[in-house]
Symmetry: C2
Subunit: 442 residues, 2 copies
């Protein structure tokens, strides 16, 4: 599948007609005066399309959700976007009516500077929870960002940096592929390192079928493909179901999780329906972009040393497969054993057993493989230890990334989770600095 | 309530007619020969009643459950016990048919040594998962333990020590109170420090109403009260619902969780029904014993520095109250903030929001108090930060134990959880020693 898509530089500015910019405007109010931004990374990003674009979105299903999420869900009804403004350092969550006024004011400032309608401006925030936005700084930042908008790689880099919080590195991707005879491009940036187990839906409401949910992750995707809004949303729903909604760092779902895709149509391909072969191609491309970005989040997760892909097969239902995979992915004991390079299948089968999935101990297989390899070293077959030696099992779980295979042998449903270990660094990082009220953040 | 009950020494040997003993028989097979048990703590406990006793039990609802649990559930059908044999160092879980044969052989060895029926002997195990029991050592241990049985405090101490795994100290209690004009006693020992979030039921099967479940904790309670088996089970169900099933250290429910209560009737009180005033007294006494023991487990949890009692009020349903409390209790981000002495209500409201409970952000109150005090320092009222300063909030969460109050203002249901922080020590302890295959344990 990957071969269909060619990686290209520039992330969000790679598609035709998109500009980006990122500035430092001291949203955490760290500064006290001149030179206060020395060494501070950017904290406000702006993404702008030359032409109005179809927009699709996915938002946290957390019942406690931030003002920018509420505003985006509202704006989504019109389905058109031309700009996205994003800040880090403040989540604008639990900020009441003032929070909503501030989110709106951000869109209005962007609209005024760009000479477009505020209804076409979307907004994302990440950072402290429960602190009112420093709007003077934010507005100053927006004005500056509009002046610095550009279509160069460094403009995309600046935006990718500006949305980071505890991330150690920016996360970007862009690909190019053929769609209905035309060359189209998809580019994206994302952030997220802690409070990561997204469970997003298009409305921010929980579908009945949604599994147990739990990140601030933000992701902004641009494409020059011509795609109708409903088709774009359908493609995004499927892409998120197989990417961001399948990752977990710490099992905590944020108040701010947001994914937005803007499709401005400047590649001039013919529009297509969800039943067309073009949809399949676009869908795969979008899924590929989302999954690559989602995996970057897990790899850069707070304190993460090891990334584990959990593949559950043979479950009675998809819900069961998901429940078993999430129980293992979020077990403190399993995660610490991964950190230790310890092939502790006892803890894994324990987590499977207490999950909501229906399982039968005597049918469970557990094994390990290197990423993408089919050769699996089984530690447990039908509930019983195999002849694999402890040393062999240790070797299997030693790499920085490995795959964990679980077969329940009860049906045909499967699920994948991209998970991480739990380390002393995670605890140390998140226990916060009591002297610093910024630790009130989410 | 406490004043009704007088604490007395001796735990399980405090009630009339109970004997106990504990020995070292090298169940982890650490030894290689003479002197191998130097400095090793005991690993096999025996509790024996002079007379056959009514027995009630609660067992893990993990679908992957250990052989001793399966055997106890089977034995429970007869409702009579006279002895309990317990080992640490090996969980006898995921050991297949051999595991069941070994669990039975343990009861048969005890039966033969004591001259009683094997059907009246119950068994508990805790330790490594997936390793066959070293039965020669176990049988030798049982023979030795029967010789050392006694009614002295040191005999109870030896049994309490023998059931420990990662516990740093033995956990014991005994109380005395009046029941129907007679003085009766309840004593208990328990163990557990990691893999702790019990969800037990009388049959080991999940009741539909049971909340999300997740410990190896073992608890053995003796009483000389005369109580019919069904009445004893009813009292235990209620006691566990308010004690062991309300604690969490790491959110992991074990394959081996077991609570057994033996009531030998030697205090000669008149038997009572569940509708009697005597039942209320006995029920409160049993609940008190279970809750005191349960709290000891949280306080001695792996790497635990702080213990937090979470009180959720105003939920629509008990299930909602429980879901909100458990989401907060098991959030990695909330637990690390407790470790840091950080009053991070942002993370708390985030966890409440993603829980399965129905909540409305604008109605949520969050506050702190010292244990048992009614004066609450509110950090959030109706979804908005109060005027409490960061310093004041830090002072509120600084003690080794504090209470977290959450009011959802949606109904009348409430729930309590006894929870713990997440520390670097927990991670360090559980990442295991890769050189040591014993880390395969659960």
């Amino acid at each position: 599948m990957k071969k269909l898509f060619k990686k290209i530089p520039g992330s969000i500015i790679a598609p035709i007609g998109f500009m980006a910019g990122g500035v430092f405007c001291d949203i955490k109010k760290l500064g006290t005066g001149k030179g206060s931004n020395k060494g501070q990374k950017r904290d406000l990003a702006l993404i702008v399309s030359e032409a109005p674009a179809a927009v699709a979105g996915m938002f946290t299903t957390n019942q406690v959700c931030a003002a920018p999420v509420k505003l985006c869900v509202e704006q989504m009804k019109r389905g058109v976007a031309q700009a996205v403004v994003v800040n880090s350092g403040n989540a604008n969550a639990c900020t009441g009516k003032q929070g909503m006024r501030d989110a709106k004011a951000m869109t209005e400032t962007v609209a005024r500077e760009l000479g477009i309608s505020a209804e076409k401006v979307f907004v994302g925030s990440t950072g402290r929870i429960g602190v009112t936005m420093p709007m003077a700084n934010v507005k100053r930042g927006i004005v500056e960002a509009t002046k610095l908008l550009g279509i160069k790689i460094e403009n995309a880099d600046a935006a990718a940096e500006a949305i980071m919080t505890s991330d150690t590195r920016p996360k970007q991707i862009a690909i190019e592929f053929k769609l209905g005879g035309k060359t189209v491009r998809i580019g994206g940036i994302c952030k997220g390192a802690g409070m990561i187990q997204p469970g997003m839906s298009a409305t921010g409401k929980r579908p009945a079928a949604l599994p147990q949910l739990h990140a601030t992750m933000l992701c902004f995707i641009t494409t020059d493909a011509a795609v109708e809004q409903k088709v774009l949303q359908a493609a995004l729903n499927e892409a998120i179901a197989h990417s961001f909604n399948r990752i977990t760092v710490d099992g905590d779902m944020s108040t701010n999780d947001t994914v937005l895709v803007l499709a401005n149509g400047l590649a001039e391909n013919k529009k297509f329906t969800v039943r067309s072969s073009e949809f399949k191609v676009f869908q795969s491309a979008l899924k590929y972009v989302c999954l690559e970005l989602a995996k970057k989040i897990v790899r850069d997760g707070e304190g993460v040393h090891r990334v584990v892909t959990i593949r559950v097969n043979g479950a009675k239902t998809i819900q069961d497969a998901d429940a078993a995979a999430r129980a293992v992915a979020n077990s403190a004991l399993v995660k610490t054993s991964w950190h230790g390079g310890d092939p502790n299948w006892g803890r894994i089968i324990d987590a499977i057993g207490y999950s909501r999935a229906t399982v039968v101990e005597e049918k469970i297989d557990i094994g390990y493989s290197a990423p993408g390899l089919k050769k699996i070293l089984w530690s447990l077959k039908r509930g019983q230890p195999t002849k694999a030696t402890f040393k062999e099992l240790c070797t299997a779980v030693a790499p920085k990334e490995f795959e964990l295979h679980i077969n329940l042998h009860l049906g045909k449903a499967d699920a994948v989770m991209y998970a991480a270990d739990l380390t002393e660094e995670y605890v140390d990082f998140n226990k916060g600095d009591v002297g610093d009220p910024s630790s009130l953040g989410g």
